[in-house]
């Protein structure tokens, strides 16, 4: 597992050896993780256990072992107190039938403990904030997919939670709508000081909105820490195109501790460890009778972190 230095503040969420099982299928396998304050991305391919983790934190699913703490409270002992301070934007299309948007959001606010008048006022405010101000009196069943996503964000925000769970918030959105909702999420996490967990399989979404990341794979944590630290310093990632015995060359790289991933365009991305540079790559190519046709320094991205983490798994 790749781990960056621990956060200076205490974690907003901590999981200690949490395991969840659906029948014979193990969805979370002894997960130990800490979510730093601020915006944290929960990354992983489909089926990695991201949604299961969120549902366990909400108390929908009871883990067979392990302990979870949210905002300093034990999930098993204080689920109601925790849920009063959480906003949840589910992945699937969800609404309460037969209501217009403002009634729906105000109703959600009241369910979370806001008095009726304040809930209605907050409903108007958050609907404007998410860009549904003009459509707030329309029945939610007439909304487009993008509008429903915004509405789900509004209902999660109405009671001003200390922590937001956003499960695939850009699902089904057009590029413009996606950019707008990512801008809102970034604003919440960075300017409004709302702690948020963004669960997604879309790396650019997480990279744009989050400061830290937890990468999940096959029910386990593959990497966690601040994105900047996990990416490592610039100049240690290279794009490379070679001609010759590729498997042999990859074997040589691996033996020297250089990780590599193939991209779609017949280009390798290699991660050079400390104490090595481009000259060493040329030398290794020469030793394995391989021609280097292209070598260019590249900027480390979250994709590299993701690829390395999943490679290590």
């Amino acid at each position: 597992m790749i781990t960056a230095s621990p956060p200076t503040e205490g974690p907003v969420i901590s999981l200690d050896r949490v395991s969840v099982r659906y029948g014979r299928q193990r969805a979370l396998a002894g997960v130990t993780a800490g979510f730093a304050p601020g915006a944290v991305g929960l990354l992983g391919p489909n089926g990695a256990g991201k949604s299961t983790m969120l549902k366990a934190l909400l108390g929908f699913i009871k883990p067979e072992e392990g302990t979870m703490r949210v905002l300093g409270l034990d999930v098993a002992e204080k689920p109601i107190e925790i849920r009063a301070r959480i906003g949840y934007m589910p992945e699937s299309d969800s609404h309460i039938p037969g209501m217009n948007a403002v009634s729906f959001v105000a109703y959600c606010g009241q369910l979370s403990g806001l008095p009726a008048v304040e809930a209605m006022q907050r409903a108007h405010e958050v609907l404007y904030y998410v860009g549904l101000g003009e459509a707030r009196y329309r029945n939610v069943e007439t909304y487009s997919t993008g509008m429903k996503q915004r509405l789900k964000l509004a209902q999660a925000l109405v009671h001003d939670p200390d922590l937001l769970f956003l499960d695939e918030p850009t699902n089904g959105m057009d590029p413009k709508g996606r950019d707008e909702i990512l801008e809102l999420i970034r604003d919440l996490g960075h300017h409004k000081r709302v702690n948020l967990i963004l669960s997604s399989h879309l790396l650019p979404d997480v990279e744009y909105t989050c400061d830290s990341v937890i990468v999940m794979d096959k029910g386990a944590v593959a990497a966690q820490g601040p994105i900047a630290e996990l990416k490592g310093p610039a100049g240690r990632v290279f794009e490379l195109r070679v001609k010759g015995d590729l498997p042999a060359f990859l074997g040589v790289l691996e033996r020297r501790g250089i990780q590599s991933t193939a991209t779609d365009e017949d280009i390798l991305r290699i991660f050079v460890p400390d104490g090595m540079d481009a000259r060493d790559v040329f030398a290794l190519a020469r030793d394995s009778a391989t021609q280097v046709r292209h070598l260019r320094p590249s900027i480390p991205s979250l994709e590299d972190v993701f690829a390395r983490a999943l490679g290590e798994q």
Binding site: Y22, G23, R24, Q25, K55, L58, G59, F60, I61, I80, E81, R83, A84, I86, Y88, P90, S92, D93, S94, H95, I96, P97, G98, Y107, C108, Q110, L111, S112, G113, L114, P115, E118, R122, E125, V126, Y128, Y129, G133, Q155, L157, H159, D160, D187, L188, K192
Partner: protein
Amino acid sequence: MPIHDQSYRRYGGRREDVRRAWTVIAQSGIMTLLKRRAFLGLLLVAWLPFIVRAVQIFIAANFPQASILAMRAEQYRAFFDQQGIFVFFVTVYVGAGLIANDRRANALQLYLARPITRAEYVAGKMAILVTFLLAVTLLPGLLLFLLQAAFAGSFAFARENIYLVPAMTIFSLVEVFVAAFTMLALSSMSNSNRFVGIMYTGIVLFTDAMYAALRGITGSSAVAWMSFPANLAQIGDLIFRQPLRHDVPVAVSLIVIAALLAVSLSVLERKVRGVEVVT
């Protein structure tokens, strides 16, 4: 500089006790139904027997030659029998979609991600149905009793028949809660309120039809335990101190109703969840 800042702001105001969330569900559900004209029409029709009985009480009290029309205990029992049909219609109209519609719209996870327990969610939904069912059973029943006591001109009627007040209350509660639990359990099993309505109608009609057929064959009403309405009628007769209409022991009817409640609770416990786990 904007005149009004429409960005997100933190909330620093008052918060209610989250344990009252079930009342928010109930209040919202009741107000939504009261806005429907068709439902108001149904409620109005359900009160017609009350109006007829009220006129009957008025005539009996004011015209000595019509004193034979004065309501007696068995007529109170008959009134609750009449209201049974409205209990059925209100249960289907109000109850079928209570949980099924939330299931269809994936709303359960929205409710249960908030500070609401599953029991509070069910209590809120049940309060909607129970309110309207009591409005067509207990409320008109008690009003009739008060009306008759008021028109009697003395305390004699009220003193002699005071047992009718707890009888009406207990029977209404039994009838209403059995209908409400059964309907909510069915509603939690499907995403379609129409299908739920059909299932409930099937349970009521099919069990009664089966009993009628077996009674025709055997010539005995001892098999009344298999009919949902017959069991309630048997319990009602006991509560109102009336002769039992079926040969089945009341204890058996009570066991059947208790079993139905237990099954309903078990279904609700398994089906009302924030996430449905399929293994």
